[in-house]
Amino acid sequence: MPEGKPETIFDVVDKAGMLVQKGRIKVPYTWAAGKVASKFLVGLRDERRIYGIRCPECKTVFVPPKKLCHKCMVEMSEWVELGDEGVLETFTIVHYGEPTVHPVQPPFAYGVVKLERADTGMVHLIGEADLASLEEGQRVRAVFNDIRRGHYLDIKYFKPV
């Protein structure tokens, strides 16, 4: 957006005498990952490794890791290195485009992947797969991007093994 130009662009449409005004609100945000998620994201970026975290009380291993167990309300600090392979627990194939949100073009698959040693699923894209033959229970492996930024999508997708 060149300097001096308004960020909000108004457009008025006349629909048989009923006027509607189009607008767009662009609000920049800066989201803090926090210490725990930062370690997870750095693991993806620098080591191509996926880390989970274990609750000291209920022993659940969460991935992606978070600071607080929502069931026990305790802080977690025991890191667990998880493999990059797991089982596709369930999935869907998205056929509609949401260009402002989706990172890829439809049709694409995403699902819940249960990594070995993890108790929660990891929601991610499924790639390099014949979408028509995807099945629950099949093994998948994380594929990392060559250029990584410390982002969840440093894992490009999980592909069938």
């Binding site: 369930t90 869907t92 998205v94 509609y96 949100v101 989706h102 890829v104 249960k114």
Partner: protein, 385 residues
């Protein structure tokens, strides 16, 4: 001890994909005016107001203040509540709490939405953790689709079972003058409609609507005078879960609904919901949920819902009619959707549901669903609790 409280007035707008003839405040006022007329009241009789919607769908913050033109809240107490898809029932619940607490005698609850103001799916996506699943979650369809994929795998349910739910709700909506979608459909129509997220197709999924609903709650002593047959609130129960889709890891069930409905049944003294409840108005955002969530409402055992659906148990002429109004598959002004469930359940108790009336309703259940995956349950009866 809570005061006994009943619903004495219900008002709804007509619902459609977009209302260009009114702004949000005017839309709200249509529902408010109709609820007041229904109860034979004027704004002078209203002691307090509760209102709710999903702020990010219209990009209007402080709706409690902004809506005063339409809500009638000028110089009255009003509070706004937003809890996602459950907003409408949260607002209804707060209306009940206002009266049951003894602080107010007659309270107006309003749920509304002008979904046409924005890209609903993009707006819904802001409920997700921005650093983790927001990128591909993109709305409510994907997670519901993935849940049903797991259910199909585990119990041998089919896409046609979900289509039967879609046909039931869409065709029930033909009897509801307020419904948005009023077109007769067949299982074949559903199966042939475009796939949105496998296995959910266009006709399996709720639309997005513009519309509003208002309810009037009154205390014992006033309720009996305002309505010949008030809908008494017997219990309200809710459960929340963490929103991360990978978390619950039991995709075949809806645990929040299991817990909330079990608590509601216990409080209302219900042991066999299939026999003891006369009608259900369920917040079913997709037809697939009308299969698997029946089990979470304890009306049948795990994996048994497809059989009951094929037998027509939940049809208008079945043992336990579900969604005589057509439910959210026919009408979905999101901030009002859950309140409409309560309102429609109340209409059934009050005997005012017109062509969609189920005979002899004495106990009615309404549910709300929001985020992934929250559940609320309200039980109404024609008798005082």
């Amino acid at each position: 001890m809570a005061r006994r409280t009943a619903i004495v007035g219900i008002g709804q707008t007509y619902h459609c994909a977009r209302r260009d003839d009114v702004n949000g405040q005017e839309l709200i006022n249509e529902a408010v005016t109709r609820a007041l007329e229904d109860a034979g009241l004027t704004m002078k009789d209203i002691d307090a107001i509760v209102i709710g919607n999903m702020d990010h769908f219209e990009a209007i913050n402080y709706v409690d203040g902004w809506s005063v033109d339409g809500s009638g809240a000028f110089m009255r107490p009003i509070m706004k509540l937003t809890t996602g898809g459950t907003s409408g029932m949260t607002v209804a619940t707060a209306g009940y709490y206002h009266v049951a607490s003894g602080f107010f005698d007659v309270v107006l609850a309003i749920g509304w939405e002008m979904n046409s103001s924005s890209d609903t799916t993009a707006a819904i996506t802001t409920c997700c953790q921005p650093l983790i699943e927001r990128d591909f979650f993109a709305g409510a369809i994907g997670p519901l689709a993935a849940e049903y994929t797991a259910y199909i795998k585990r119990f041998g349910a089919t896409e046609e079972d979900a289509a039967l739910v879609s046909v039931r709700d869409h065709n029930n909506a033909l009897n509801n003058p307020h419904a948005h979608l009023r077109t007769r459909i067949t299982v074949e129509d559903v199966m042939k409609s475009p796939v949105l997220c496998y296995p959910i197709k266009l006709l399996d999924m709720c639309p997005r609507s513009d519309g509003a609903c208002a309810l009037i709650y009154a205390c014992e002593g006033k309720a009996e005078k305002l309505a010949p047959r008030p809908a008494w609130v017997h219990t309200i129960a809710g459960s929340r879960d963490f929103v991360y889709m990978g978390e619950p890891f039991q995709h075949e069930e809806l645990i929040t609904l299991e817990r909330a409905s079990a608590r509601a049944y216990k409080r209302a003294g219900i042991t066999d919901p299939l026999k003891e409840i006369d009608v259900m108005e369920l917040y079913l955002p997709a037809s697939t949920t009308g299969v698997k969530w029946m089990e979470s409402l304890w009306v049948c055992g795990r994996g048994e819902a497809p059989r009951l659906i094929r037998e027509g148990v939940f049809n208008m002429d079945g043992q336990l009619p579900v969604n005589p109004s057509g439910g959210p598959l026919a009408t979905n002004p999101i901030g009002a959707t859950a309140m409409i469930r309560v309102g429609e359940a109340a209409l059934q108790i009050m005997g005012k549901a017109g062509d969609r009336q189920v005979p002899n309703v004495r106990t009615a259940l309404a549910t709300a669903f929001g985020s992934c995956s929250w559940s609320d349950v309200t039980i109404l009866r024609d008798t005082k609790p």
